[in-house]
C-alpha cells in the first residue's frame, strides 16, 4: 500500500511519499524515509520491494556522487534519470529491481523536472506522476487541480488534498507522509503529515 507521487511547480518540484515500512499485517515503523536526496539538487522517491528499494536507491546515490568526483560537475536530472533507466533495464532480464521511481531535480539551465521510471525501466518526463494504490486517487486529484507554474503553497495544498483522499478512501491507508521539495536552493525535507507519532 505504498504510494509515491510528485509534481512540478514554478521553479521547483515536489515529491511526496508515505513513510510506512510494512511486513504483511505488521507496520514495522512509520517514519521510514523513502525519498532519497541523491545530490544537492535531486530527489528520488522510490516505492516497491523494500530490500530492492534500499539497495537500488543507495547504488544510484553512490554512482551519482562518483560521477561528480570523477568529472568535477554534477549529473543533470535527465542524465541521472537515464542512468537509472539503464541500470533497471540491464537488471530486468537477470534479477529485476522491483522499484518504481519518481525522480525530481532542478537544473540551472532547464529548471525543475520530474521523471517517471517504472520497475520495467519505462522512462518518461512528466509534470505529475504517482505510483502505488494511492496513485488512483493522487493522479485523479492532480488531473483536476494541477495547473502549470503553481506556487509552493498551491502545490502543498494539492499534495494535502491527495493525501486526504488517500487517507479517507484507501482501505489500508499509510499513516504518515513526508513532503520533500527541490528548487534552485537545493533539495530538502519540507513537511511531514502525521497521524501517528513514532
Amino acid at each position: 500500500m505504498e504510494c509515491v507521487f510528485g509534481m512540478v511547480g514554478k521553479g521547483f518540484a515536489l515529491v511526496v511519499a508515505d513513510s510506512s515500512a510494512v511486513n504483511s499485517i505488521l507496520v514495522h515503523k512509520s517514519n521510514e524515509d523513502k525519498i532519497m536526496v541523491l545530490d544537492s539538487h535531486k530527489l528520488m522517491g522510490a516505492s516497491g520491494e523494500a530490500g530492492d528499494r534500499a539497495q537500488f536507491t543507495e547504488y544510484v546515490q553512490k554512482n551519482v556522487a562518483l560521477y561528480q568526483y570523477r568529472n568535477g560537475i554534477p549529473l543533470t536530472t535527465k542524465a541521472a534519470a537515464n542512468f537509472m533507466r539503464g541500470e533497471l533495464a540491464t537488471a530486468l532480464r537477470k534479477n529485476p529491481y522491483m522499484v518504481n521511481i519518481v525522480l525530481a531535480g532542478y537544473d540551472k539551465e532547464t529548471g525543475p523536472s520530474l521523471y517517471f521510471i517504472d520497475y520495467i525501466a519505462t522512462l518518461h518526463k512528466v509534470d505529475k506522476a504517482a505510483f502505488g494504490y494511492g496513485s488512483y486517487f493522487a493522479l485523479s486529484m492532480m488531473d483536476r487541480h494541477y495547473h502549470p507554474n503553481m506556487t509552493v503553497d498551491e502545490a502543498v495544498k494539492l499534495a494535502d488534498q491527495c493525501i486526504e483522499e488517500i487517507r479517507s478512501r484507501l482501505v489500508v491507508a499509510p499513516q504518515n507522509f513526508v513532503i520533500k521539495i527541490v528548487d534552485e536552493d537545493g533539495a530538502r525535507e519540507h513537511l511531514w503529515r502525521r497521524t501517528t507519532k513514532d
Binding site: D118, I120, A121
Partner: protein, 204 residues
Amino acid sequence: MSIFEYNGSALVAMVGKNCFAIASDRRLGVQLQTIATDFQRIFKIHNKLFLGLSGLGSDAQTLHQRLVFRHKLYQLREERDMKPETFASLVSAMLYEKRFGPYFCQPVIAGLGEDDKPFICTMDSIGAKELAKDFVVAGTASESLYGACESMFKADMDHEELFETISQALISSVDRDCLSGWGGHVYVVTPDEVTERILKGRMD
C-alpha cells in the same frame, strides 16, 4: 493481459507518390491506467529513415538506443546514412539474436531508399520481416488499423492526401481501442522535407 499490451500502442506507415507517412498514437499506459499523453513512439534515424516501435515501452526505448548507436557507428565507418532496406535487416538480426528472450516490440520501419523510392516494412518481435507496397500496421489497435487502411488507402497519393488518409485511419482505429489513443503524431516525409504534425482526437 499480454506483455505486448502492457503499455498500449498504435503505429501505421503508408506509401505515397515519392513520399511516405508514419503515424503513432501518444498514450503511455500501465495496463488500464494512463500515465502520459505525449509519449514518443516514432524515432528519426536519419532524415530519410524513421523507426516506429510498438509494444512494451521499456524495450522500445532500449531498442531505439541500441539502434541509434549501431547507426552512428555505421555512419562513421561507411561515411553515409544507412539505406532503409539495410536498416530493416539490421533490426531483424538484432531481434532474432534475442530469439529465446525477445524484445517485446513490433517495429515499423519507413524510409526513402535509392532514388527516393519509399520503403516500408514491419516485423514481429523476433524479426520476421514483412515488406509491403501499400501500408503496414502494428500495436494493440492493429486489427482496426488493418481494416481502416485497407478501405481508405489509394495508390500514389501525394503528401497532402497521404497525410489526410493516414490521420483518418489512425484516429478512427484508436477510437475503438481503449489502450491506445490520446491524439496522434504524424510524420510525412518527402525527398525535400519532413513535416511533423500532432493530431487531436478523442482524448479518452
